[in-house]
């Protein structure tokens, strides 16, 4: 009985829990509720994944209204994969949040914090699970508005301006998406994605459809921080509370990538977006320039958090690069990197959160000799860094491997060079941190100790996952491959 309602429970559960969180107000209880709900969401997403793993598609009609008219929730291999990433990261980041948030966010605002967190989770899960284009916009707004709040709760005063800028840019992005959806509604008269796809295939090309595509690509491009629309991201990630950075960096842009995939490959047909429209080359150029440019920026950054934020933009570039190849190998690589990047960036930001918790600073100069003082934290950082570079036996290597393989398959050699150059740049910026932490003597008066266990456990959970999924790729590659097959298969 409850089993068939799982797709909707995935979203409703955090949505209902959010106001409860506000009522509880007492920080510990609010945290506990958020954590339990996240855990429940993770369990639901695992169950959903098991159901669709064999290639089935779950369709759920909200309120019993049948698909093209009512709102449909559709779970297939693609979004089940996204759901599991979002919920798993939420659980790990919340484990971390209890101690970290207690220090970084004022006591009376903590209830609010967890409310916003659950709303953000609702929004992200909703975007993934819904099969209705307008519903997607609603969830996008829910997740965006709550993430502005989360970022604005950062300690630094600049968090407010960063949040405000993100708000303006995010709203423009969401408006663009809405305009795009509106234009599509205009020509087809439907909002259900599968229905849209069927009708667009019949209607064929028109100026309205082309404009809709333009608005959607730019709008979603803004949300996923596609170069040069990434400018809101570095500040937002830098000044947000540590746990929020982990959560958003590992999930928000990923969900945006998912939106891009859904629209480019399913709502529109791949033969339209990449055949009739020159979108493949357009995305590939932006992604390639983005990878090289933002990686170079990372090299000169003094604030490690900001450095990693720029590196995130570069990593999104790899995913877009995979998408722009328009092959099942390219999509596999993109989805795989989506998963692996959540692991590696999550690890890095968590380790950095530990540093911030003890030192109160994440400047490069402040962490000299930290390898001796906080060995476990820095070792986790090292694991994340190796994965980011793409050393064999880490998750990062697996996705780079597939990406290069996909580019070679298409014969796009310049992209291979870009990927390798990107990894080399990554070595430089990450190694600056490692060198500073391990090879410099710690300052005399520095008397920090290792981060508390409540921070180390989630950090090492993700660090371990980096190694585990670098060796056993059955789940990650299997899922990515199946999702890619679904996307390219349905696009014919």
């Amino acid at each position: 009985m409850i089993r068939e309602h799982l797709p909707v429970l995935q979203v409703v559960l955090p949505l209902v829990a959010a106001p409860l969180c506000l009522l509880l107000m007492r920080s510990v209880w609010a945290w506990l509720l958020a954590f339990i709900v996240s855990l429940a969401a993770l369990v639901i997403s695992i169950v959903l994944l098991r159901e669709v793993y064999a290639g089935e598609v779950l369709s759920y009609a909200i309120g019993g209204w049948a698909a093209p008219w009512g709102i449909e929730y559709r779970v297939d291999a693609v979004n089940a994969f996204i759901l599991i990433i979002v919920t798993a990261i939420s659980v790990v980041a919340l484990m971390f949040a209890k101690t970290s948030v207690a220090q970084e966010v004022a006591g009376d605002k903590q209830g609010l914090f967890y409310t916003a967190w659950l709303l953000c989770l609702t929004g992200l899960l909703g975007i993934a699970v819904t099969g209705d284009a307008f519903n997607l916009f609603v969830f996008l707004e829910i997740s965006s508005l709550s993430s502005y709040v989360l970022i604005g709760l950062g300690q630094d005063r600049r968090a407010l301006t960063a949040s405000f800028q993100y708000l303006v840019m995010g709203t423009i992005g969401a408006t663009f998406i809405l305009i795009g959806i509106g234009l599509l509604y205009m020509v087809t008269g439907t909002l259900n994605m599968m229905d849209l796809a069927a009708r667009l295939a019949v209607l064929g090309d028109s100026r309205t459809v082309q404009t809709a595509l333009a608005f959607l690509t730019v709008g979603i491009g803004l949300k996923l921080a596609l170069f040069p629309l990434h400018l809101w991201l570095p500040n937002a990630y830098t000044y947000a509370p540590s746990a929020v950075t982990v959560f958003l960096a590992a999930t928000a842009t990923k969900v945006a990538v998912y939106m891009l995939l859904r629209f480019l490959f399913q709502v529109f047909d791949a033969s339209f977006t990449f055949g009739a429209m020159p979108l493949g080359g357009f995305l590939a150029v932006l992604a390639a320039v983005g990878i090289l440019s933002t990686s170079t920026v990372s090299i000169f950054q003094d604030n490690i958090k900001r450095m990693l934020a720029y590196s995130s933009v570069a990593q999104v570039g790899y995913m877009v690069l995979g998408i722009s190849l328009v092959s099942s190998a390219g999509l596999t690589a993109a989805l795989l990197h989506l998963f692996n990047h959540a692991l590696m960036k999550g690890t890095l930001f968590l380790a950095l959160g530990c540093v911030a918790y003890r030192l109160g600073s994440v400047r490069l100069g402040a962490i000299a000799g930290l390898g001796q003082r906080m060995p476990w934290t820095m070792a986790a950082f090292l694991v994340g860094a190796l994965s980011l570079i793409g050393i064999p036996l880490t998750a990062g290597f697996v996705s780079k491997w597939y990406l290069i393989l996909a580019a070679v398959e298409r014969g796009w050699w310049p992209l291979v060079v870009v990927v390798i150059a990107g990894s080399l740049l990554a070595i430089i910026y990450v190694w600056r941190v490692v060198e500073m932490a391990y090879l410099r003597p710690p300052p005399e008066k520095l008397s920090v100790t290792e981060a508390p266990l409540s921070l180390l456990v989630p950090t090492w959970l993700l660090a371990g996952a980096n190694v585990y999924f670098g060796v056993d790729t059955q789940f990650s590659v299997g899922m990515a491959r199946q999702a890619a097959a679904l996307l390219t298969g349905s696009s014919g």
């Binding site: 405000f164 800028q165 303006v168 840019m169 423009i172 992005g173 663009f176 100026r207 082309q210 404009t211 595509l213 333009a214 608005f215 690509t217 730019v218 491009g221 803004l222 040069p228 629309l229 400018l231 809101w232 570095p234 500040n235 429209m277 020159p278 979108l279 357009f282 440019s293 933002t294 170079t296 920026v297 090299i299 000169f300 950054q301 003094d302 720029y310 064999p392 036996l393 697996v398 491997w401 290069i404 393989l405 070679v408 398959e409 060796v471 056993d472 790729t473 059955q474 590659v477 299997g478 491959r481």
Partner: protein
């Protein structure tokens, strides 16, 4: 025990080593190769640990005769080297040596190219610590160059594997070259893999890392290094490229050119490094010919070479350990102080010179017979000259200048007991194999009918050759024509990138300063401008890095929207 991939015992044991009490570590380093060896004896031939990783069929372990013989000798060498290094208390060296040996063993049992690549990289990353452990600035730089070249070989290997996989859809590590043996027929992926192997095998012009890095390694590190890296490459060539014609020519060149460098070199460990290169040439020729007899020759040569080259490096290491120097000009007359070391060194020298009844002879005869059988006349002449050359530099020069020659006046203690025992073991093996080659022949990849001492003519030729080489040495020494040992650093091709290019740049810069200060200033200015531009755009407050006003961000959105609309409309 058979379910554990070979080599893993050593790697895991090595990684656990730092947690053991200091005194027990050398013993563990000795026990682990023994355990590994026992595992090999229990391991039947076949494919093991076949796992599917991400849709790729990987075979972590393939046991056949070719991998087994390399497995045996790697374990033996690891044991002897560990015995020699018994006095080492530095955990870094112990750990890296064990991981290095373990990964080299793992690599020869790798059944697919991906597994090979992973082990290939681990050997590079772990072995560099044996060089860095010397602690000198020179060693650090040489180690860095070594690391870059080795990792570069790994990157080439990976690219080659990717292309090869793209082309054939197979990751299996089988014969990669087509049956014709012509490189022209090979796909680009296979060529890249060959280049990766060639770097590690120190082919001519790709060889400099060897003479650059090995002499900088620690006393014990050099013994480890001499045994594994290049022989792993020989194994990989024998597996992937048997019968590749071009290797015959390359091999002959490899045997010949190091002779001249070795004869004039002053650093005796560098002499040994050159002679290592020359010996590899014989193996490469054998692989290039590719007949069963020739491949047997190459593999047998690798087997015995590991032992006697380790023996020579051990004896020179002992000299370095006791006297603190390894320059031929500073040494001499040490037989009074280190008689045992001198004796063992001579056994190694006679083995490498392939005197009948020493191990080098029984192996080299196989290769030479294969050359004769294939009617490669020029190759045969080349190898004969090379054999005489080996005698010249390793057979006579090394022991002569270290232990005899003019008396340097150095009076030191004999080498420590554990070093002597290690050297005695190696020397025993050299003689044992020389007298009784049958056990070695029995484990070669292909059946052997060859009787090294059955053909008296061959033995006589070899003895004549060696005697004439010795005569030449005596005559040249007497007449003063033999190149005097000089306190000089010999320039090899690496001079081009270590000295020539930097000098050329400096020269060009000076010329610019002298001839046209204005131009120079302009250049200077340009350089500053480039850096400033990068800094301006990418630096912390650069255009691309600073916080943008919201309006400008929106401008970008508008630009992109217009751009994409235009693209779609077109």
């Amino acid at each position: 025990m058979t379910s554990v991939p070979p080599g893993l015992i050593l790697i895991l044991g090595g990684l656990l080593l730092p947690w053991l009490p200091g005194a027990s570590r050398p013993v563990v380093s000795l026990v682990l190769p023994v355990l590994g060896f026992i595992q090999l004896l229990l391991l039947p031939e076949g494919l093991y640990a076949q796992i599917g990783v991400a849709g790729y069929e990987l075979t972590l372990v393939r046991v056949d005769r070719l991998s087994l013989i390399f497995g045996y000798i790697f374990h033996i060498a690891a044991f002897i080297a560990a015995l020699y290094a018994l006095h080492i208390r530095d955990a870094t060296q112990q750990v890296s040596a064990l991981v290095y040996v373990g990964s080299a063993i793992g690599a020869v049992f790798a059944g697919d190219l991906m597994t090979l690549f992973v082990y290939w990289e681990i050997t590079a990353l772990s072995s560099v610590f044996l060089i860095w452990a010397s602690g000198s600035e020179q060693a650090y730089r040489a180690g860095m160059r070594y690391l870059i070249i080795q990792v570069g070989s790994g990157v080439l290997l990976l690219s080659g594997i990717l292309l090869h996989y793209q082309h054939t859809g197979s990751l299996a590590f089988e014969q990669l070259i087509s049956a014709s043996g012509q490189l022209a027929d090979a796909e680009p992926g296979v060529l890249l893999i060959l280049v990766a192997f060639a770097i590690k095998c120190a082919f001519p012009l790709l060889h400099n890392w060897l003479q650059d890095a090995y002499p900088q390694a620690t006393v014990t590190g050099a013994v480890f290094l001499s045994a594994f890296t290049t022989k792993l490459a020989v194994y990989a060539l024998a597996r992937g490229f048997p019968g590749t014609e071009v290797l015959i020519g390359i091999g002959v060149v490899m045997t010949l050119f190091p002779i001249f460098f070795a004869v004039i070199e002053n650093d005796l460990r560098r002499v040994l490094s050159y002679s290592l290169n020359n010996q590899l040439g014989f193996m490469v020729v054998g692989i290039g010919i590719g007949t069963e007899l020739a491949l047997n020759g190459a593999v047998a040569h690798a087997f015995v070479h590991i032992i006697y080259k380790a023996l020579l490096f051990m004896s020179m290491g002992a000299v370095l350990y006791r006297t603190g120097t390894i320059r031929a000009t500073d040494l001499g007359g040490l037989y009074r102080s280190m008689p045992w070391t001198a004796a063992f060194c001579i056994v190694g020298a006679m083995s490498i010179s392939a005197f009948p009844l020493f191990s080098g002879f029984v192996a080299k005869s196989l290769t030479l017979s294969a050359v004769v059988e294939g009617h490669y006349v020029l190759v045969w002449i080349g190898l004969l000259i090379a054999s005489a050359g080996v005698m010249e530099h390793s057979g006579i020069k090394v022991p002569f200048f270290a232990f005899f020659g003019h008396d340097s006046g150095i009076r030191c203690k004999e080498a420590p007991t554990h070093m002597l025992v290690a050297m005695a073991a190696a020397a025993g093996l050299c003689l044992g194999i020389g007298f009784f080659p049958q056990p070695l022949y029995a484990i070669l990849p292909y059946p052997v009918t060859y009787q090294p001492y059955g053909d008296l003519g061959h033995s006589l030729t070899q003895v004549q050759l060696l005697l004439f080489a010795a005569l030449a040495f005596v005559v040249l020494m007497r007449t003063g024509l033999y190149p005097r040992e000089q306190r000089a650093i010999n320039l090899d091709v690496d001079w081009v990138y270590r000295r020539f290019v930097p000098r050329l740049v400096i020269f060009a810069m000076q010329w610019l300063v002298a001839v046209n200060a204005v131009l120079n200033r302009a250049l200077h200015h340009l350089g500053r401008m480039v850096i400033r531009t990068v800094w301006r755009h990418y630096g912390p407050e650069g255009t691309l890095a600073r916080t943008w006003p919201t309006g400008s961000m929106v401008l970008w959105v508008a630009i992109l929207l217009v751009a994409s609309s235009l693209l779609y409309y077109a």
